[in-house]
């Protein structure tokens, strides 16, 4: 991402726009906004070279609150807008903010394609498992059976797992964090550092229409039992006393107790950020049966669409020379008509 060291170092505050923030009191979006502003500062992003793009939803109001360039587009289409921006100017530092409805309901297809194209683009999906802006209908990540305004007898769809979709879409960086969790900053930091499409799901509390949806993962009395922090090369251990772990029995994951009473740490699965199959397996582990992994599931270095496209332009110029209009006009079968 482009930075200019001559510029005065910016603080998180410098990334706050002059618009007053309009989310409900207690909305998880506030915490994320603060973290992102911090990351902008800590990664020395420059305001003028940074663009925040979003779709429609409470979460998608995000760009208005960043003192950078911003585009609050239409529902579900942010990935396409962001793609156009990167194609037109690959140097820009583009962040996309979306919701579970915006990204996975109306926008699901664009998400797949922006990921497989691997634009150098940071994607933050605020997952509150509800349609917030439209006042509380169930979303593609709402639990089966969830009762909402639009599903008074309970939703009858299986929810999708954003991370599984991202992995199947060939994403080059896949991670998860929680709005109020300590490691959100670290995950965003990793995402910012990744060159390519970085997909980050963020559990976000919709205080008004889906309050406490993630209590199991945020409530200090139980979270340690329900959340597993991933560390590359380290065994999958969790629990307040770090005495629980994940093991594979004929390639199926299982929760086991570690320590003298149980199995050894070495028998556990060791996290490997480069293993897409492991990443998928981890993405399938969900509460209450399993602890839910947080952190970086998967990452791989790969070329970015915008760079390859620019390279084709350069190669074409190398091979055929700077395009000349007259040559173009005169190409093909031409003939003279004499006066």
């Amino acid at each position: 991402m482009p930075t200019d060291t001559n510029l005065p170092v910016l603080t998180a505050k410098d990334f706050a726009s002059d618009q007053d923030v309009r989310w409900c009191p207690g909305c998880g979006d506030y915490a994320i906004l603060n973290q992102v502003r911090k990351i902008m500062a800590s990664t020395k992003a420059s305001r003028e070279n940074t663009v925040f793009v979003s779709g429609i939803g409470c979460s998608s109001r995000f760009p208005y609150y960043m003192n950078t360039y911003g585009f609050h587009s239409i529902h579900g289409r942010a990935p396409a807008i962001a793609s156009g921006i990167k194609i037109a100017n690959p140097d820009l530092n583009v962040w996309m903010v979306t919701g579970d409805g915006d990204a996975l309901s109306i926008g699901g297809n664009h998400l797949i394609h922006v990921l497989r194209r691997n634009f150098n683009l940071k994607i933050l999906l605020f997952n509150n498992r509800i349609y917030g802006l439209t006042k509380g209908q169930y979303s593609p990540t709402s639990e089966a059976g969830k009762k909402t305004k639009s599903s008074p007898m309970g939703a009858i769809e299986l929810p999708v797992t954003p991370l599984s979709i991202a992995l199947a879409s060939e994403a080059s960086f896949v991670a998860r964090a929680i709005d109020v969790d300590r490691n959100l900053g670290a995950v965003l930091d990793r995402a910012a550092a990744h060159k390519g499409s970085a997909f980050v799901e963020i559990y976000q509390d919709c205080n008004v229409f889906n309050h406490a949806a993630f209590e199991y993962a945020t409530d200090r009395n139980q979270k340690e039992e329900h959340v597993l922090y991933l560390e590359h090369g380290k065994p999958l251990i969790f629990g307040k006393n770090r005495d629980k772990g994940i093991m594979l029995r004929n390639h199926k994951p299982e929760v086991v107790t570690v320590g003298d009473t149980g199995v050894k740490a070495d028998d556990l699965v060791f996290h490997d950020e480069t293993d897409e199959n492991l990443a998928f397996l981890l993405s399938r582990m969900s509460h209450p049966k399993f602890p839910e992994p947080m952190g970086v599931f998967y990452r791989v270095e790969d070329q970015c669409y915008e760079d390859m496209l620019t390279k084709q332009v350069q190669d074409a110029i190398k091979q055929r020379g700077q395009g000349d209009l007259d040559t173009l006009f005169n190409a093909g079968e031409t003939y003279e008509v004499k006066g």
């Binding site: 726009s17 156009g84 037109a88 664009h110």
Partner: protein
């Protein structure tokens, strides 16, 4: 049709007729290479110095079953020593390579016209495939032999014999028979063969590295020509002199090629990269195909996952400061409508090319129509004014593509450029311009934070195009209503009224930036024929003929549909009657009547084909002689207006 047959002299026992123009149509199975024969005949005639107009006509299916009517592919050329604007109505010479082709096209041949059939293919099997009753062969039917000069040539067999020792497989030999047929026609119309022989050697010989195939094709061509020369089958031979067209360098272009070149030219004139974002769709895909080969012009093509992503990417590209363009056809325009509205409220430059086809829905993908005008003008939620312009000929797609970009950039607005299948696939000679003859497109990007307001207005009412990367101009735009000036989100009642008015006025003001119209013919009179888009050539021809007969008819062809030229209303008042011919059920007609309260009548046709000149002449006569009656609109049905 041949027009202006003049001097007829005899050379070596053969009549040689000088004619002004002729219409030839090649028809055969999709696999028979009729499109190639047609384009070769066109190139040859153009290079020879005739004016030419063409009309390709191929089936919707990739390859319909061989031998069936659905699988017939046709290519019509009108070539002349005068200047012409249409592919012609009635066919002077039809080349039918099989029974299905005969069946599909025979009715378009003028009485007394020449019909050269590939006799070898008129066997039981093919006759059945063509859907003729058992035991019936149309070639033996007096109904036809009396109306037409049918000439039976066993093309397949003659071609096989000619290429017997070409060393090619039977299949490959068969592939050459289109060249044999072309050879006959070249002889018949006294055309040189070098253009085609060069092409064959280049393409098969050099490019495909198949010298044998090249040689065989050349051989077939020459054998066909020799056959014409030697056999007694053709009593008359025709000669069409060079046309008196403006001197200079020419080439053939299709509308889609022209549009692609126009976009690239505009991007250079504006000093911007062209970012063409699209999703393939017939008949617009060729624009993508052409542009994809122009990377060395800094052109970036983006094949998106769908039309919505395509237009959104183009919008993103414009926001980021380059020239964002998207192209599609009718169904795709439907999908783009929501995002087009985003560009309208975000007030970003954007060009949307819509190559119209038969609708509604998937409709007739390979047939032409002009029925997306109202969608282009009104197909979005809310009051959403957008600029709409239309090309009137294949080569005009070049000029109008530049114009679309110019307006989009200077006025910070989306522009819809309407083309259609007939223009997009149809070819015409194009006087090759020189790059330096075009005016630069001035682009202004603000840089001064002190004075910047995202929704400030210049003299055109255009807002500033501030692009990411500019220090101090950081701002946010989006689809919610904007506060006048700052561009922040605003739910204020009066502000919405003001912004709605501004968006409308901005587009209306563009009328100051486009040429006034001048009727072709007389400034006033009994009848004005008001057209738009691809019907230009036909209308012009019909009006010219009517005027030649002393009728008080003029025409205006609208290239700007929103806003319309300032003086249109005034011009309309100068004529007693107004006729609006359209390949739809009356879309421009409704708007013109609503805007100007003139009792415009419509000639409307949705038959997947352009108007015939004859149909327009009939309409003009009915209007002038008051035989038109109260009908708001009439439709041509087999040579009758009803």
């Amino acid at each position: 049709m041949v027009s202006g047959a003049s001097a007829t002299h005899t050379s070596m026992g053969r009549q040689q007729k000088d004619v002004e123009s002729a219409v030839v149509r090649f028809a055969g199975d999709s696999g028979d290479g009729m499109q190639l024969a047609g384009t070769q005949f066109t190139d040859t005639s153009a290079v020879f110095g005739n004016d030419v107009a063409t009309l390709p006509d191929y089936p919707a299916e990739i390859r319909a079953p061989a031998g069936t009517v659905a699988g017939v592919s046709g290519f019509q050329i009108n070539f002349a020593s005068t200047d012409i604007h249409t592919p012609g109505d009635a066919v002077h010479a039809l080349i039918a390579m099989n029974p299905a082709a005969f069946k599909a096209h025979i009715e378009d041949v003028e009485t007394g016209g020449l019909v050269i059939v590939n006799d070898s293919e008129f066997d039981k099997v093919n006759l059945r495939k063509a859907g003729y009753p058992e035991g019936y062969n149309p070639l033996d039917d007096e109904k036809y032999s009396q109306r037409f000069r049918i000439i039976r040539v066993p093309i397949t067999r003659l071609n096989e014999e000619a290429l017997a020792d070409s060393g090619l497989s039977a299949k490959d030999i068969g592939r050459c028979k289109n060249m044999f047929a072309l050879g006959i026609i070249y002889w018949l119309y006294d055309r040189p063969m070098d253009v085609t022989t060069n092409y064959l050697e280049d393409y098969f010989g050099k490019k495909k590295k198949l010298p044998q195939v090249a040689a065989a094709n050349v051989n077939a061509l020459k054998s066909g020509h020799a056959f014409g020369e030697t056999t007694e089958m053709f009593p008359v031979r025709y000669h069409i002199a060079k046309a008196r067209v403006a001197p200079g360098k020419y080439r053939k272009v299709t509308g889609n090629e022209a549009a692609a070149m126009g976009l690239v030219t505009a991007s250079k004139l504006a000093g911007k990269d062209l970012i063409y974002c699209t999703y393939p769709i017939t008949p617009a895909s060729e624009i993508l195909h052409s542009l994809a080969t122009m990377r060395n012009f800094g052109v970036k093509t983006f094949q998106a996952e769908d039309e919505i992503a395509a237009i959104c990417a183009a919008i993103g590209a414009s926001f980021a400061g380059q020239l964002g363009v998207t192209g599609t056809s009718g169904p795709g325009l439907c999908l783009k409508s929501e995002a087009l509205n985003l560009a309208i409220i975000a007030e970003l430059p954007l060009v949307v090319i819509n190559v119209q086809r038969g609708g509604p829905s998937t409709g007739l993908p390979t047939k032409t129509e002009q029925s997306d005008l109202l969608q282009a003008l009104f197909g979005r939620n809310g009051d959403s004014p957008v600029v709409v312009i239309a090309a009137q000929s294949p080569s005009d797609c070049f000029d109008m593509a530049i114009e679309a970009c110019r307006i989009a950039i200077t006025h910070m607005t989306p522009v819809i450029l309407l083309s259609d299948g007939y223009l997009g696939n149809g070819a015409e000679p194009w006087r090759v311009p020189s790059a330096d003859q075009f005016a630069k497109i001035t682009v202004k990007h603000p840089t001064d934070p002190a004075t910047f307001k995202a929704y400030d207005r210049d003299a055109n009412l255009a807002r500033p195009w501030a692009i990411p990367g500019t220090p101090g101009l950081e701002h946010r735009i989006g689809g919610l209503e904007k506060a006048n000036g700052t561009g922040n989100v605003s739910h204020d009642s009066m502000n919405h009224q003001v912004m709605t008015d501004l968006r409308r006025q901005k587009v209306e003001k563009i009328a100051d930036d486009i040429p006034a119209i001048e009727p072709h013919g007389s400034p006033s009179g009994d009848l004005l024929v008001l057209g738009w888009g691809g019907t230009y050539g036909t209308i012009l021809t019909a009006v010219n003929r009517a005027r030649a007969q002393g009728k008080s008819v003029s025409c205006v062809h609208l290239k700007y549909l929103n806003p319309m030229p300032r003086n249109l209303g005034e011009v309309l008042k100068r004529f007693k009657k107004v006729l609006v011919p359209e390949l739809n059920t009356g879309q421009l007609r409704l708007v013109v009547r609503g805007k100007f309260l003139v009792d415009a009548r419509g000639l409307n046709k949705v038959q997947g084909k352009p108007f015939l000149v004859e149909e327009l002449q009939q309409a003009i006569d009915l209007m002038l002689t008051d035989k038109w009656g109260e009908n708001e609109s009439l439709t041509p049905r087999n040579h009758q207006l009803t």
